[in-house]
Symmetry: C2
Subunit: 423 residues, 2 copies
């Protein structure tokens, strides 16, 4: 048993923070045993890591990020989705046929997740099997967790990014063989890129792989008007974009769909009924001019929403910055319709931690039985005045802090060193 | 004469960057003499500061920031404008009656401007004369420039923030006496807080002070629906919000008006005719749920637009981050109306540098005769791949860089040290 002593803040419920000033978290076998205001007698002899006046919060989960777009982070912001894919993204992803290039870039990618306090990610790799293995091994070696998808795609993209259905199946079999164990932190996820990139037989194979191996699924949904029109043209028999996935068995409670900016009506209802999680990616939705996703409506309907950096359509790895942006997006909905209350900080924090964390098991909270995924925040440079409350200190860190203020990172109870320090 | 050698990037024109790889800037008496691809023979013997492969760009100008809201940066994000003022902002500004508190906070404020590469600011102080002097002296001691306004206000706020018209006049006289010289970097600006805070006789006095001393003017305009409705109720004879300033002689080519989110029709035309500059504050407009300002329309009409952090309704001092947000806001207009092209990076950069800089003289460009206000950007940690162009390196710095990448700051040719290092 290990005890951590600090100012503890987390969101067991969406609507409010639980704040335990100078409290204690007891951790055993990587899992939280309990959170205490005073250390109980039976734990009095356990070793204590004393983080003093620092904040101890759950670690971040990035529910949508494209690892092979790492080089393009912060550039190529002058196009909408479809031309952006053709002109900037596919040319970069082609490079990942080269495993040496992949290894070099993915090392930096994993470091940047770590640096920003993201201990779990749902990531797209590229179509390339070997490079995907490299990314999964790097994440696992780092002690971090997540679901990594070898991308499935076979149309409307350069030939070098296309695979056959047989290749898709073989790669999935091999990745499951190597990584899909109950106790693995890094595991595969079925990843049809999006409807425009996948023929019906590839989509059918994806659904079949998900069923056979009980794998989760990730993809993109209703991000952009031109994209939605293209899906309508490609899949005229589908009632809407979500239905084009659903008819291949790709929507369920272990599916995460990125964006859903324009999801409404029957598509909205389908997500709700299937239990699909939405990955809200607000910077991406701004940068490629997609629009303002209706997060309040999702939450009110009981549709779970996590936050995604969507690097490189999104430019920022920080899930804290995504909280800020998510609140800002919700304020633009509120500005137009005051019945649509904007997101509170606790709601944004909950989305990024406990709500998203459910995708990985019991992750994102300090309730008993949860994995101890945590960040120690040393916000002392931001405490310019002694009158801030603990919640104001957290709010300031979320709004104006950065990686410099993250003093330590834990994943499943292990202190995680800088992945670049691993030989 | 001093020569600076680096990769030079600036925006003499709005529509495009001028890029001079490994070029030279010659500076004399704090002013740019010229920019050269090869060092001319007559400058061959001048001392050279060699910044190697770093980027050399104009320094940032913050066209709207509230110095006495410094403590509240990154907190209090749960209200719209008017309750936000009453509940969070006025209580904080009241503290600036205490000059010791003001001196302590303003030192940090000036440091944070410096840290983020902002060498000139148009700032609101509070209503307090002595604290305003302290801020102006701190900025001047730091070697930085700007216009600082002792705020004028006498209604709809706590008694401790109200002044008489006589006090307003006396304070203005004294600040002009102390600071208003042709060669001062830090000078006063007439600052009626906004129409709801000022009675007609105070507004008239403001107009009269501006005329008498040829002072510029700053205020707020058409930020929020409730605010606009309040102005309509308070000033029923005015045709619109802008007219409520104009009738007191407060709109002209040396006026900067923050926000203008809802400016259109006759108000829009009035800003154009008077030559008023708009301070676009995109993070603030998100955080207090104001809306998406129509910057493309301003620029198309020839209305100059600078960028403002608006701390603390805005949470971020970085004018680079304001460029990103300004482009993002414009993409939300574009998403709804494709005839409204979104801002390019060169346009956002030009707004923050040359366009805004005109408010201070010849500032914000490296053209001959301009003050040498410059930043040296050491983006080497961001250059993870040797295939980036210089413009891509700049774009990455703007999107994902921060103060760690600013290696040096110049204002009027002087290297500016950390203001906190000044005793």
């Amino acid at each position: 048993m290990q005890i951590y002593h600090a100012n503890i803040i987390h969101t067991p419920e969406r609507q409010r923070f639980e704040v335990i000033p100078h409290g204690y978290v007891a951790v055993s076998d990587g899992r939280v045993e309990g959170v205490y205001r005073e250390l109980p007698a039976h734990l009095a002899d356990c070793p204590v890591t004393d983080w003093g006046d620092r904040l101890l919060i759950p670690a971040m989960n990035d529910m949508h990020v494209h690892a092979p777009q790492y080089r393009n982070q912060g550039i190529a912001m002058d196009e909408e989705l479809l031309p952006w894919l053709q002109n900037y993204t596919f040319p970069e992803e082609l490079k990942y046929a080269d495993t040496a290039y992949a290894a070099r870039m993915y090392r930096h990618f994993v470091h940047d997740l770590w640096r920003h306090g993201t201990m779990r990610a749902v990531a797209f790799a590229s179509v390339h099997f070997e490079s995907t293995r490299i990314l999964m091994r790097l994440l696992d070696d780092a002690g971090m967790g997540g679901r990594v998808g070898k991308v499935n795609m076979n149309r409307n993209c350069p030939e070098g990014l296309q695979e056959s259905v047989e290749e898709a199946r073989a790669a999935c079999d091999a990745l499951v063989q190597e990584f899909e164990r109950e106790d693995s932190r890094v595991r595969p996820i079925v990843t049809p890129r999006f409807i425009p990139s996948c023929t019906p037989d590839l989509l059918a194979a994806c659904g079949e792989m998900a069923r056979r191996y009980h794998l989760p699924v990730q993809s993109h949904l209703s991000e952009n008007h031109d994209e939605i029109a293209l899906v309508r043209a490609l899949e005229p028999e589908s009632r809407h974009y979500a239905d084009a996935y659903d008819r291949y068995g790709l929507l369920g409670p272990s599916t995460v769909m990125a964006h859903c900016v324009w999801t409404d009506g029957d598509e909205f209802e389908m997500l709700r009924q299937r239990g699909v999680m939405v990955a809200h990616c607000p910077t991406s939705n701004f940068n490629v001019a997609s629009g303002l996703a209706p997060v309040r409506r999702f939450l009110d309907a009981g549709i779970p929403v996590g936050l995604g950096s969507d690097v490189s359509a999104g430019h920022d790895f920080s899930i804290f910055r995504m909280m800020v942006y998510a609140i800002q997006v919700s304020k633009m909905h509120y500005e137009r319709d005051h019945s649509c209350a904007f997101l509170t900080l606790s709601e944004a924090f909950w989305m990024a931690t406990k709500c998203a964390g459910a995708f990985f098991g019991r992750v994102g909270s300090f309730e008993p039985g949860y994995d101890f995924d945590a960040l120690v925040i040393d916000d002392s440079p931001l405490v310019i005045d002694d009158s801030y409350t603990l919640l104001q200190r957290l709010e300031r860190f979320v709004y104006i802090g950065d990686d410099r203020h993250i003093a330590a990172r834990y994943c499943q109870g292990r202190l995680i060193p800088d992945p670049l320090s691993i030989p």
